[in-house]
Symmetry: C2
């Protein structure tokens, strides 16, 4: 193993799907998979302390290289003893490479387009992208910055998360096949440079390659094989996943079918309830998304569609909850659901009390962790597909 201290062991396999349970060993403990990674974007959660997200059940978090690069800077984090120590989190952690933010902010709101959502206008900050790397403008002070594969790895080594990613170009949905292909090939060269940089002075971190190729089966195949041949600890699926949910499932399915069978596999930026069931069925081990915590700040509580009129959440700002004496989720045992009514949470949002968002974030973290525990238990018990169908998820 070229990644000492790291191991990924598949402990259970589902017989009907590609779902599997695993144990991902890191210097900060073992992560049971499938699991979900919560976003502490700038080295902090937006509304909870690390203690609260741990008490809500979270097992792994991520921070964003792009944001931390710009502020407070990797040297600052290193001086504080690394991200774990600075943030007060002693469990597994992942950092992305910075690619996603540069390109999504750079193209002006492509983040949504990758998932096929409507266009939203974010000022473009990407100045230039070439073989060397990506040049962009800092949203903090307007200064020109450059991110190269080598620098991304250097930064991530200073940040010191357990799982780290190669720099890639996150190709959006609206570009042509030709651009997707060229971008993929450059991302492959960047992956090699990332790996080489990492090898120069290896740190106790597990490096993930990222599979590109957009919505094109042959490109996904080439990218999957390429990443599998390189000496990465893990593999992640990146880039455009199409224009709607079904296309995403199709792309993830075809990609997974060709992937390295023994590496932990991460699906970047996806976090819907149905998406998790489907992703796990296709062989995904970990997911990340800002959705659960961002949704909470906007008044949304995650619920199974059967309890949310077919949607995956209810909006506590809605007037129909003004007198609702039920907990947010009567089946949940989190601090929010055990102690407070929907009416109180509704009131908190009306009165603009931040506590409303905090309580929903506690619930949403607890919900996601209950979801992955349910999925893991089902795989171990041999009834994953059955459970997923009963839930109306598969």
């Amino acid at each position: 193993m070229p990644y000492p201290g790291f191991q990924f062991e598949v402990t259970h396999r589902d017989s009907h799907t590609h779902a599997r349970c695993g144990r991902l060993t890191t210097p900060h403990g073992v992560l049971e998979t499938p699991s979900f990674i919560f976003c502490a974007t700038k080295g902090a959660m937006k509304s909870l302390t690390m203690q609260q997200i741990r008490e809500s059940g979270a097992e792994i978090i991520l921070s964003n290289t792009y944001h931390l690069y710009l502020q407070p800077g990797p040297g600052f984090v290193q001086k504080r003893g690394g991200l774990h120590k600075m943030m007060g989190w002693d469990r597994p952690m992942l950092t992305d490479s910075g690619g996603f933010q540069i390109f999504s902010l750079g193209h002006g709101g492509v983040a949504n387009e990758i998932k096929g959502h409507r266009h939203c206008s974010i000022p473009k900050t990407l100045l230039k992208i070439d073989e060397h790397g990506a040049e962009f403008r800092s949203y903090i002070d307007g200064q020109k910055k450059i991110l190269t594969p080598e620098l991304s790895i250097e930064i991530q080594q200073k940040l010191g998360a357990d799982l780290i990613l190669v720099l890639d170009e996150c190709t959006p949905f609206h570009v042509e096949r030709r651009y997707t292909e060229q971008s993929m090939e450059r991302s492959h060269r960047w992956a090699i440079r990332s790996r080489e940089q990492f090898q120069k002075s290896p740190t106790p971190q597990g490096l993930y390659g990222i599979i590109q190729g957009g919505i094109y089966e042959d490109l996904r195949k080439r990218s999957t094989q390429f990443i599998a041949e390189q000496d990465f600890f893990g593999q992640a699926i990146g880039g455009s996943l199409g224009g709607d949910r079904q296309q995403m499932y199709d792309i993830v399915d075809m990609t997974c079918s060709m992937m390295h069978p023994n590496r932990p596999t991460h699906l970047l930026g996806i976090g819907g309830i149905r998406d998790l069931w489907h992703g796990v069925a296709q062989g995904i081990d970990t997911f990340d998304c800002v959705h659960p915590t961002r949704l909470a700040r906007h008044g949304g509580a995650l619920l199974y569609p059967e309890m949310a009129e077919g949607k995956e959440f209810i909006s506590l700002k809605n007037a129909r909850f003004a007198e609702d004496t039920e907990p947010v989720d009567p089946t949940c045992s989190c601090y929010c659901c055990k102690n407070f009514t929907r009416a109180y949470i509704h009131y908190l949002f009306k009165a603009r009390e931040l506590l409303g968002g905090q309580l929903l974030a506690i619930h949403n973290v607890a919900f996601m962790m209950r979801l992955v525990r349910e999925i893991r238990d089902a795989i171990r018990d041999g009834n994953f597909r059955e459970k997923g169908r009963l839930r109306g998820m598969l």
Copy 2:
């Protein structure tokens, strides 16, 4: 005792000052005094869950009748089973009468003037004040509202806090003696009406009278005697306390010297470190102030002046903390001080991460509770004055 379930027992008296330790028994447990009451203004803390403030050591909180009257309304709270149940707080709680907010907002920022601070401009909402009560405009929807002594008690009975206050006019500093005297006399009549209303259908709550009289010794004397003669469970010192700290100490001193000796005594709206030592020395049992939690949101961490260059706090937003590897307070064992550096907190404020304010609120609550424990221990050990002098506080 006309207040079944309530008791106040003085357990220790200091031999050099009027400082005392007490046990204030309420339906939600015993409060050791001297103690400090944290403000959960609208039925929620601004940045912490009740669990967090409890874990930080808080023993009693208060909510504001004025705010809860306007939103979500006392009926809403009553339907949720009262404030305790709605907020998830099962320890002692106090509600004020609403008078302070009506008059301080009404006079346009008088809250600060009472403490002799500079004038700040808050839109005036007080429309009329007469024998019947106070008419004001709701800041929620602009509707005309009226608060009478009877209504304030009715509302507080619905809210269901343990300790409740009579409605008074909180006379500001800038008015003439003649106004202060007339206002005091009306407040006395309101106190009687509040008490009568409470008696109509007594609830398991302890009613406090409020002593007025502004900065005038003879008026304070009359008011103190008047309140002592009425059948209140506790007594609070309200109204203007002068233009500076020394004048406040003088007024509190003269008022305390004349007060009912066996009733729990509250000093309204005061929460400085030095103020607590002085207040306790003069016989005050409980204090409340938004200061500790509001200060935290603005980047301030409470510290003894010896550690804060003579001030009672440090501002973590200050650039001098940008690389400071110390905890906020190296002598503190709260979650914030045990896990994070000043540099990280500084960064959080710079990055506009709310976590910065949350962590400082945890520290400030822990600091205040450590302060009152230190004071209680010193009284019990018979060295209160000595300790206060050593600290440079008395």
